[in-house]
Amino acid sequence: MSGVHMNLRTLGLRLLGAAIALTVAGQQAAAQTVSDFSGIWTVEKPSKDIRTRDGGMPPLLPDSLKLYEQRQKQAAQGDLSFDPVDAKCAMPGVPRILAMPYPFQIFRNALRVVFVYEFNHNFRSVDIAESVPAADWGTAYGKATAAFAGDQMVIKTGGLTDETFLDALGMPHSSALRITETYRMLNGGKRLAVDLRIEDPEVFSAPWETSLTFRRLPNHQLQEDVCLDRKADGEPVIDWRRQQK
């Protein structure tokens, strides 16, 4: 085969490839119009304590309520030694990290939805799939799957460790915890809302729900955050006063 023929063949293949790529890109763009949550977001009202949608105390079972009240008292006295996040910079896990005053970025591709959290370079990769895979052991971010329905993204999470808390005041949960996050866009994509359904029969008497809202940070770039270095410098592990512009 001569060089000319090879070049023409190569050119043809490239044009074909470009056409396929454009078609795929077009399909992806069309798909993203209804369910693309990509971007950098920050919670509008950071909160140390998680409460039900109407502001009430979640239906903790008596022993769990007693434990939570004890931790709340400790926290009120400035003693956060019970908290692995404050004590060690351990992973906050879900849903706690959503209410923290640190931005996160959502990425989406054909197979996964990826959350990259600015806080201490945590991240979470979620399969776009039907059923939550089994977990060999519990982790802070668990095993999760994402599904898209209309303008909503629904993430179901299990496989969670019981060593994280639901909030910064030590609300407990067990490894039986199941979380359903339902995300939807508000204000033409300038804001994001998530409805959270918490199910954990070992800690709560009934499933309960809460919600959070986020605003888009169009000009923000996630910064490298090394929690242990901040802590070593005497800065707070979680700086509740920080504001994102």
Partner: protein, 342 residues
Amino acid sequence: MRGCGFGKIEPVGAFPPAATFWRGNGKIVRTRSGILLPWVAAAVVGAGLSTTGVYAQPGGQAPATGDWRTGPPQPAPEPVVVIPGDKPPPEGQINALGAGLPAGPRAPYAPVGAPPPSANKRDLSGVWRTTQFVLVPLTTVTGEPLPYTAAGQNVLWHRQNMSTSGYAVISSTYVCRPAGILNSLNFGFPIELAQTDDTIAIMAEEGRGLLTIRMGGKHPDNLQPSFNGDAIGHWEGDALVVDIVGLNGEVNADWAGSPLSDKAHIVMRITRIDKGGPYEDLQALVSVDDPVNYTKPWTILKTYRWRPDQHLDEFDCEKGDQAANTEGLRLENPELIKGQRK
């Protein structure tokens, strides 16, 4: 095996005076963040030694023959390839840059029936796994040792001598700090890429590495030094070109401890490449210019398999006691590695 030996390199400069060093013969264990011998861990950590700027001296061990500080470097250990090596590169192609890597059984591809990478060649997103994970110092794409300056060479020798003699070499990951992109790309655990038009993130299981690449623009004038540096990217054809400056001088170039200074300038070219397998591979051609530690720029090549069937396991380094137990622990000679650790 070409390029992996370390015998050609002669000592340059003298190691500074230090406390007595003792040889151990325990079994080296690989941890999630470093290499540590059990008896060292027990003796140093268990004894609660605060050894900032001081060498640990576990008792009861036979002294080394000769003086490690002035003698020749210990022979480098044979490469440990956790994932068997890539196939030999075709002659005369860019893949020949991979010369020096051992030939061997091919690293596993994703299972049959796994979804392929995106049809868009500029879509690098997904999970990838290196075909090569080496514990010895990196070799260049042409199979040569890295061109160390005297200062860089001494830092590496220091760490190698410590490691092969049974002392922990405290890398940034060992104290639950970011590994830096070069180390993240070398580790034998999966990496995951996620991208939008204006940001590309490279995540690594080991050390929970995270490099966020800003597409377009330029480096800011007043950079705050960081473990991963400031990364900006652009496309050249279907190659993602990433320019990184602003390192803090606290990360290494490789597992063995080849140093990187805060003057290091890293350029990565990341592409998807068809090497004849069932799925395309990802290749990262990484060039480093660090005049403090290397006499000239050098380039390495890393290849990764497409593994959509895998996830990055969660690595909560801080949750364990590793960070607390090793905080402030610096077994390296601080004079020798000055600038490499706080």
